[in-house]
Symmetry: C2
Subunit: 188 residues, 2 copies
């Protein structure tokens, strides 16, 4: 138990590649043998690190949250300034980095797997709670801040989910600015 690693590096390699495949082709194309081919090994390796395919799939949401969402929420806290400035920083960060790269694929998966749906809903809640606290900081009541946070967050979701063609960075920044103005013009 002394030198026991919480997350094996090799296991995480499989998970990272699986997440990439999930993003590219959907969960039903995350299969053991094609995955092994992409990693340049055979499935003999896979069944060493995982009990079976289901074991891999059930480990994916935790890996997704750990590798994708945690860094973003950290970004929020390390920004200094008032709530509006924090929102602006978040919007710029999102517009530039597009950290939600895997979100759509996770949502697509969550449509058909209730456990995954719960995991994704928890992430949604964490993000909306952050937004709500910022609106409360800006002077809104908890109830009003909660709804404003929904509107705030759902715009993100809508932008990602309805996008079939890529949007330029300028356009994304323009929309972010417009959105910030519309949702915070009555505050401060």
């Amino acid at each position: 138990m002394a030198s026991r690693r919480e997350h094996s590096q090799d296991r995480d390699s499989w998970l990272a590649e699986a997440l990439e495949m999930l993003r590219e082709r959907g969960i039903d194309h995350v299969k053991v043998e094609p995955l092994a081919k992409r990693l340049g090994v055979t499935k003999g390796s896979f069944y060493w690190h995982f009990k079976n395919r289901c074991d891999l799939l059930r480990s994916l949401p935790e890996f997704w949250a750990r590798s994708q969402t945690d860094p973003v929420l950290d970004q929020v806290e390390t920004t200094n300034g008032g709530p509006i400035e924090k929102m602006r920083a978040v919007l710029e960060f999102i517009a530039r980095e597009d950290p939600d790269r895997y979100d759509n694929a996770m949502r697509a998966w969550a449509q058909f797997d209730s456990e995954v749906a719960v995991a994704v809903a928890q992430i949604d809640d964490r993000r909306m709670a952050t937004a709500q606290s910022l609106f409360e900081e800006a002077g809104l009541s908890p109830a009003d801040a909660a709804f404003r946070a929904r509107l705030w967050y759902f715009y993100d979701v809508g932008e990602h989910v309805t996008r079939d063609t890529p949007v330029s960075l300028e356009e994304r920044l323009e929309r972010a600015s417009h959105r910030l103005k519309l949702l915070t013009s009555d505050l401060k």
Copy 2:
């Protein structure tokens, strides 16, 4: 060409069942033999109506738009009153009927198929264009109305996409009312 049906009834039966399966389990589970089993026939029937599985899948988006979205947009036009009243009517209709039952599954599919993505984007555009025209009727400039329509529509998308547990009718109506107020309080 005289008595030729535009859409065969039997073909539509396969499409309707396929759409249902798409909603329940995702596009990769829309398979010929399970589908035939659900319809109580064998796949010999399928390959009479369709060239192959790909033929079925490529026919699904058109069927979806024809059977799901067209009726909703008709509903918008047949309502009389000002733009705000029309919006209220639309919100109530959506909150009660939930006509977007298949939207999530289509979006999930569109994530991994660019042709489907285009078809869904066209539906999104039609719906947002309708919303935009209502906001213009209410006095906004085309540019402002366009953005307001995005905010309006993305809230719908967000509500549907992030929902893991069902929401009561009362709650849905309450949110619809709140949303209408927040997005139209400065108009008229």
